[in-house]
Symmetry: C2
Subunit: 605 residues, 2 copies
């Protein structure tokens, strides 16, 4: 049953050898990996304008130079990550680069930030997508959490189906979004040039009395939130078709160009059309309204934008499992994140991401907006560390043209560091959690690592000197009466060793006498030990007895407890049996070094 | 930890031999077993008046003859159950009497009704008690369900502590209630006789135009709800101190007398003081108000009445586990209901009652009033069956004075049958569920019985002919590498038999080759079989292999699968190991007749 449902939802299992077919072409990769970055266009310009409005309408012209600065940063990031891709063709996320050049702790700091960040991405963007839906259909407002959860389940299932299939499904809305935004920008520019826009706008360079550097920096850092998601490509190099690093680099550049054009276009249009951010209508919506009026095209643009905000989460679904895999390979995360599922994806990573983000959505009742600054900091910390790592690498290795490369990374590092600091300073009340959360995450990584190291050390043997040694064996068989199950168990025990002891726990004299008599009559060739339980517990006297035997024989014998286990035909029949055997097993497990053997007895009826 | 908490809540475990000390004296038994019956006084008269008011104020004088009729029925029930107690000194609930004289199905009908009824009692009376509390403190109204649940938890814990301890705690409010009602009645009568009541009341015997037989019967049956709980004593005879049947009979008579006096008193006062039922104030409250005014005594009476309604549930806590025990002894209910817990009570029955009634309270959001008619029917069906059973018994056995006894039971049977019919006819919309529910319960009883019978039949062996036989043995050891755990498992396996097969599941050629080489180097004296898994599943190829070996050897060999199991030092470390062994065991359990032996390996760090 379960496996049938699984097959319908996820598809047939795939052979390990089929993995090459699951790799991404450039165009599909763009769809899978860029949804987070490209969707930022929908709110990036708006974030800048909101901050600037604090200094009055006259200050909005600053959005143009700030946008240029953001574009510059984008350029630096793209160049820098392009360098990373060629340097780390096996996958060069911030974790790998930082670990490789700055040491393990720094790597874990970058990796931990990113992991947390991906979870936030899914929670925030599924909530944002839900907001878009409920804005259109207010009657759904009470079901916000449910809608966000359905979306998370959908994304999780798509990603469990496998990389290429999810790419095929998800590519369409992303390309539609790109087309829609370009149509909007081109039409807007044409309309403006033909004199169709009549807004009174402050001129570029006009003086604004109450503008401060702090405000400008804050506006810049807010605009930088449009750049989250840029690192996704460099994490995912192993997912690309061969030659993977070349394809990845090309994809990254493609993404950078598209993102840059869209961001520039939206920022310019917002300025030209004199658009002010409003609580009631997004900037993109206002632009679309000014350009097309509230017609079919307007509603299509709005719908696609809502959809893309939803799908921004998908980038995290590619990046989280890969990063978790890398951390697990280095023994900083549980081994289960290394296993490929039926469809060759890292299912455990995908499922964990889905579950954790669903928990966040439920915990915050779908109001995850407050998590956005946290999420931006979580991106810029690894950005900075990754660039710093590349700097060290150039200085150490000094390959051809290393000075240029070093300069690019240095500029990138300084910029992203500055942005991180601005975020922390200007939005401390939102991001302080990072300083509690990250140390806990890193500590957990180290704890896990220590456990694996200890385990490996304990389990290691010397192939030359240590070989299996045989001992003699004692088997204890708890019996509850003289039944077919007991006979079956004794047959088994006697086949293995001559030291078989049957143990019976009796509650009163009458009971004990009856059992002893019956055993004598049966005479199965096995000694019966009868224990008396004053407190009506079967397990306590039994375990005491086992401890005694263990103490007496542990030098010479392997001790086995043979427990008959009824397997009923229907699950509900289990309630009709006292399951003492399960209890005995649970107790013995935790405490003793005895072998517990279960003899199943399948009821026929 | 768990056991410490348990000890604080429930007390130290008691030896089986201490059971005699847990038996009830007459006074304590009265407290434990009569709360349900006595608390009925708080609403019995009111139920009659509510029905009569449908025919106008002039009809209220009928409450006096109807009360006399209810008293008569009480007398018959007491006499009849006294006869039952002496006939069934081992406990003569309706289940036993009906089963013994009318056959198993009838017994199960009576037993099933009572079981369901006890659950309803707890749910209804804890909700009623909560209503009393929230009437006094309206701010608590939003926490009704919580308060009712707290009360159920409290009662469950008290009863888990044991019969006498719960009696000691619960006796006080019950005796206080009896005293309070008697004070009210005596003061009320004195005040009336001294001319202190001036209500205009319809004279006894005055004609009422629109009264009908149907209405009178309905009023009578409503008044009979005051008699629920009378059967509790006859169920609980084994709980009494020796001589148990004499003590039980005396307790029953005591209870009958107290109940009769209180009921008569309240009905008379209600008539004399011209009290009309009101939605806003209970009849008892009105009487207390008329007699004492709203002073300290009034509030004390109200408080104690609320408390006693709460505690009415406690009768069910004595009766349910005993009845479940009897049904389990006859193999109609799961065996677990036969086990005595740490404090010698039937813990499973107590816990099940608590949980089921809590579920009812939650499902009905604490509004369980609609369940009251259901609950009355559930009482009167077994009343009728029990009396019918006694009639058959007298006719069959014909002991000295059997005619009188037969007459008593016949009158009782006819009356309770009539009341049952009236309930069903006048309140069908509330009680129809009985006709769906009871058949399901009885069917379940039979299913359980069949399963136990089948099991016993399958397990039975012929002591003379069937003895344990030895075979040879094959042990399969799945290995994941060359580690200390594997060495440990192989040592164990080689100690038991020479036929040991190690199995390794590899994912790719490189992997397989490495393992084969290492095994050769180690040379542990055990053959290694390597399986290749194209789908990255360890369990599937392994189970296929086990099936092959089983098919080849099942004639001659016992087959054992030896699974190493890591036991980590801290629970959270379990997540760091893939628990493949648990999965293999779970799959093998359900399907195969192989023995599964677990070799524990306890990590030191």
């Amino acid at each position: 049953m379960v496996s049938k449902v699984k097959r319908v939802l996820i598809g047939r299992p795939m052979k390990s050898a089929e993995i090459e077919g699951e790799k991404l072409s450039k165009l599909k990769a763009l769809a899978v990996l860029s949804s987070d970055a490209l969707s930022s266009v929908a709110y990036g310009t708006e974030q800048i304008l909101i901050v600037l409005m604090a200094a009055g309408f006259a200050a909005v012209w600053y959005s143009i130079p700030i946008s240029v600065a953001v574009l510059g940063l984008l350029l630096i990031l793209i160049l820098s990550y392009r360098q990373t891709i060629y340097s780390y063709p096996a996958g060069g996320g911030a974790y790998v680069v930082a670990k490789d050049n700055l040491g393990v702790s720094t790597g874990l700091l970058a990796g931990g930030s990113l992991l947390v960040d991906y979870i936030l991405t899914v929670a925030v963007s599924s909530s944002a997508g839900t907001d878009a839906i409920t804005s259109a259909f207010p009657s759904l407002h009470d079901h916000r959490v449910l809608i966000a959860l359905i979306m998370i389940v959908f994304l999780t299932l798509m990603n469990l189906r496998g990389v290429t299939e999810s790419a095929s499904v998800l590519a369409i809305p992303i390309y539609l979004f790109v087309v829609a935004i370009f149509v909007l920008i081109i039409s807007g520019v044409i309309k403006y040039l033909m004199g169709g826009a009549h807004a009174a706008i402050p001129e570029l360079g006009s003086t604004v009395s109450n503008i401060s550097l702090f405000l400008l920096l804050k506006a810049f850092s807010s605009g930088c939130s449009a750049l989250t998601g840029v690192e996704a490509v460099s994490n995912a190099i192993p997912n690309f078709k061969q030659p993977s690093e070349k394809n990845a680099a090309a994809t990254l550049v493609m993404m950078g160009v598209i993102l840059g054009c869209m961001f520039t276009g939206i920022s310019l249009l917002a300025y030209w059309y004199g658009i002010m951010p409003s609580e009631k209508e997004t900037v993109v919506s206002q632009i679309a309204n000014s350009v097309f009026g509230r017609g079919t095209i307007y509603y299509m643009i709005q719908g696609i934008t809502a959809l893309i905000l939803f799908l921004a989460a998908n980038t995290a679904y590619s990046a989280f499992p890969l990063l978790a895999y890398m951390l697990a390979k280095d023994k900083f995360m549980p081994r289960m994140f290394m296993a490929r599922g039926d469809r060759l994806g890292f299912s455990n990573g995908i499922i964990n991401l889905g579950v954790l983000s669903a928990i966040l959505v439920i915990a915050f009742h779908g109001n995850t907006e407050n998590l956005i600054p946290l999420y931006a900091v979580g991106v810029f910390i690894p950005f900075t560390l990754s660039q710093l790592g590349m700097m060290i690498r150039w200085i150490k290795l000094k390959p051809a043209g290393w000075v240029t490369k070093l300069i690019i990374n240095t500029i990138g590092m300084l910029t992203t560091l500055t942005i991180t600091m601005i975020f922390i300073i200007t939005k401390f009340s939102h991001v302080w959690m990072v300083f509690i959360f990250l140390p806990i995450v890193i500590l957990t990584f180290y704890q896990i690592h220590k456990h694996y190291e200890n385990t490996a050390c304990e389990l290691r043997i010397n192939l030359q000197d240590e070989k299996p040694e045989t001992k003699s064996s004692t088997i204890i068989v708890p019996v509850a009466g003289v039944t077919r199950v007991v006979m079956h168990s004794l047959s088994y025990a006697k086949s293995l060793t001559d030291n078989v002891i049957a143990v019976y726990v009796g509650f009163d004299d009458e009971d004990i006498e009856r059992m002893e008599k019956k055993w004598e009559e049966w005479n199965p060739g096995v000694r019966l030990i009868v224990l008396r339980s004053s407190y009506r517990s079967i397990t306590r006297p039994l375990i005491k007895f086992i401890e005694t035997v263990e103490w007496k024989t542990h030098e010479t014998d392997h001790l086995t407890i043979l427990i008959p286990q009824f397997i009923t035909k229907h699950w509900w029949q289990n309630i009709l049996h006292n399951q003492t055997s399960l209890m005995i097993r649970a107790i013995l497990y935790a405490r003793k070094d005895v072998v517990i053997a279960t003899v199943p007895y399948h009821f026929q009826r």
